[in-house]
Amino acid sequence: MGFPDSFFARKFNITERDLESYLAEALSSGGDYADLYFEYVSTSALSIDESIVKSATQGVTLGVGIRVIQGERTGYAYSDDLSPEKIRQAAKVAACIANGPSQVDKTGLQEGTKRDLYPVLVAPGETSLAERVALVKRANEAARAADPRVVQVQASYADSLRHVLVATSDGVLNFDRQPLARMGVAVLAREGDGVPQRGYAGGGGRVSLDFFLQEKTPEHFAQKAVRQALIQLGAVPAPAGEMTVVLGPGWPGILLHEAVGHGLEADFNRKGVSAFSDRIGQQVASPLCTVVDDGSIRDRRGSLNVDDEGNPTQQNVLIENGVLRGYLQDKLSSRITRSKPTGSGRRESYQHIPMPRMTNTFMLAGESDPEEIIRSVPKGLYCANFGGGQVDITSGNFVFSASESYLIEDGHITTPVRGATLIGNGPEALKYVSMVGNDLKLDEGVGVCGKEGQSVPVGVGIPTIKLDRMTVGGTA
């Protein structure tokens, strides 16, 4: 499909000539570079609580963001009105960042090559609402039927379909249609008069509704959530202090997102404020660790055909055999540091300036058998699942909260323990990785990453790994 048949060209009668004239307006005060980001997002969200479908919401937002760069300066303006006058007015406001005569005579726009990492013919948002309501009802029924100790169930489903168009003064013209869907099940289980416990499971991706009917069904998430809550019913207080920690495969990859991912975003490194600044080529992890960020994996929540600055996503090696290899770049940082783009420029919406961000971040599989990893630990903690995490990129200190973990005693996983936060230091923590499993797993598709007030969907993944030393923040 060429530009004239694309969403914005058809729906809003936008032509290549229009785009070129808006870019010329944006550069009329002498900026070095300008780009336009058109966005049209339709969303649906449903939830069931107390077996009642209490809420259903749909909505539409649209707008255009216009950016002008001169040197290291950025001017930004946006409009939620796509009439030519309003777009020109926004372009004029963004242009104010620069001061000088226009240096650009004409931008020749070139359509980027097309690929389709999420070939979803009918997006979830384009199906009947009844089909989607059935998903939350099924999740509710499955969770309630799973165990008599389940006392509360909330199931939610949300999808969005995002159409974007990027045009830049260096000639890039790209557009994309980005479906995204996610469901989640939260349960509360209680035994007699005891303390109730929560369990949560969820997932999705850039998928069609079939994903929830065939691959990861509402029953799958319901059972997983119930299982987690029931395990917590028998949990003892978590231990406190430094110990050997084994992370299970999948979502525990959030360790990588917090410990190294954010610290390798190029904006922080260009400014010299990251604990990883000026450390390319240095050993920052055990030689067993190779960590990549890959926005080009099919159907994944963190994947994009093109990033929000019009560059194709790719696999970027962050750490190779323990050695720091590269940073995640956005347009501004790659211009200033004369680095190659990595397809990592992302933004929450047309109202936001793009930044370097992660997509799907994971560690490559190693050679150890996961069972052998557990057997090698006389005393420690096994973490099967986590809630959220956070990092201070300057000191490098990061945390993530275990939501399902167990004691390891004499090489066996034994008693479940209550939630606890784990803390470490980014450039140090992975040096203690002494075993990496052969069981790489990506998460099921629930991740949301926040940075400077902007949220974007991401994925993580990890094989089973053993960290010889990590601080566990329990009370026992």
């Binding site: 930004y76 939620d80 509360l188 109730p196 430094e242 566990v472 009370t475």
Partner: protein, 447 residues
């Protein structure tokens, strides 16, 4: 475009389309942001946006929709969409609007809007951000780098209407200045921030004070060590103490209560904290960021003592959670532009205590003074609490050296019971505010 007419029109369209009840929110706002770094402008951002949302009821079935397209077509599509959705939701016996007798607005000016914010020229905003950063950089030679400083302003209008005849609107403004310096010494690098936020320009702290305070905070973190794992008293400085109010709010919010998803379920009227503790919600205080003339269902705000002298006195409720619990709304409905209302807080704070914060530090022989908390390790259902921390170690009543890469853990139940001192240093920097707090004992996990 007249936003009040727009909102009333949405209600009419919804009723014509078959809604037996409807609520509409319309908002518009303008945002300006200037960021500077190392003395140079880094970015300037200026834009406005608008949006409308509607929630309809057909009997006891609710549906919601929103749009940023305020054209006639965009609005008509939104209303149709909400009506369609009300046909696929289930009948909820508790769904509804507030009782008509509960609707109303606070009279008198809450002073939420000041023209000074709009009148301040962009060049001044940039200049003040530069001054804040310059003050931070000049504070000490070890402040060698900066993540910059910024000046942000927002002005906006909010309109709310419902099918019971409520129509209200108010304007609000805010301006804020912040600085994020980076301190470096012997391979240790630390950043911290400070900010000031106000409804009017004259109430902002001066840029130099913001910059210097941010620098002091970053500097005192340099050379942080890890301490050994132990149980010890923990002092929360005001900036981190306010995060405990977030946790308390989650535990007394009607949504958590009717589902019994809070460690405080069933405890109304009981002692849940030391007698020293009182927690108040009050959306009627002029100029503060938790104030508004009506809540997001059109109910007037009020002052509610949630915990009084250690006894749990009240939940915070909207009309739905009130009906679920057989109580009356406390005027705490909150929502974005659309959807069923959730529960939100107004100015939610711990009134100031009697002890000078310096004396609280002096009273601790060995313990932790927390200046930063990271992560999400708080479980409202069980009360389990475990978060990453950084701060200063106290030896013999003195702040001795910085510590980091540690966690603090306990349960919220024990923390509320073990609250040993409340400082006299209450100040509002946003809707949540707490003085310095001393908790007698928590588990500190380190080496």
């Amino acid at each position: 475009m007249n936003l009040e007419e727009l909102a009333s029109g949405v209600i009419e369209q919804a009723k014509k389309g078959g809604a037996t009840g409807a609520e509409c929110t319309v908002s518009e706002g303008d945002h300006f942001s200037a960021s500077v770094r190392m003395g140079e402008i880094e970015s300037l951002q200026e834009a406005g946006s608008r949006g409308a949302g509607v929630r309809v009821l057909i009997g006891k079935n609710a549906g919601s929709a929103y749009t940023s397209d305020l054209s006639d077509d965009g609005i008509a599509h939104m209303v149709r969409s909400a009506l369609d959705l009300a046909k696929i939701t289930s009948e909820d016996p508790f769904a509804g609007l507030p009782d008509a007798s509960e609707l109303g607005k606070m009279t008198g000016d809450l002073e939420l809007y000041s023209d000074s914010v709009v009148q301040l020229p962009a060049s001044t905003k940039i200049e003040w951000a530069k001054r804040a950063e310059a003050a931070a950089l000049a504070a000490d030679p070890r402040i060698a780098n900066s993540e910059g400083a910024s000046f942000d302003t927002r002005v906006g209008s909010t309109v709310f209407a419902n099918s019971l005849g409520f129509l209200g609107s108010y304007r609000s403004s805010s301006c804020s200045i912040s600085a994020v310096p980076v301190a470096k010494q012997n391979g240790s690098m630390e950043r911290d921030f400070w900010f000031s936020i106000a409804r009017s320009v004259d109430a902002l702290e001066n840029p130099e004070d913001v910059g210097r305070k941010a620098a002091e905070r970053a500097l005192r973190r340099l050379g942080a060590r890890k301490v050994s794992t132990q149980k010890a008293p923990v002092i929360f400085e005001p900036r981190v103490a306010r995060t405990l109010l977030d946790n308390i709010f989650d535990a007394i919010s009607g949504d958590s209560v009717y589902r019994s998803e809070t460690f405080l379920a069933g405890k109304l009227g009981q002692k849940v904290a030391t007698e020293k503790l009182t927690v108040v919600d009050d959306a009627t205080i002029p100029k503060l960021f938790g104030s508004s003339p009506f809540d997001d269902e059109g109910v007037p705000p009020r002052r509610t003592a949630v915990i009084q002298d250690g006894v749990l006195q009240s939940w915070l409720l909207n009309s739905y959670t009130a009906r679920k619990l057989g109580l009356r709304t406390t005027g705490n409905a909150s929502r974005g532009i659309t959807g069923n209302a959730g529960v939100g807080h107004g100015n939610f704070y711990i009134p100031k205590g009697a002890v000078d914060p310096a004396d609280i530090i002096k009273s601790v022989k060995r313990g932790l003074y927390v200046t930063e908390l990271i992560g999400f390790g708080v479980n409202i259902v069980t009360g389990d609490y475990s978060r990453g921390a950084a701060g200063l170690w106290i030896e013999n009543g003195e702040l001795a050296y910085p510590v980091s890469e540690i966690t603090i853990a306990s349960t919220l139940q024990e923390m509320l019971s073990n609250l040993e001192a409340i400082g006299s240093d209450l100040e509002f920097r946003g809707a949540l505010a707490s003085p310095t707090l001393l908790i007698a004992e928590m588990t500190i996990s380190g080496q």
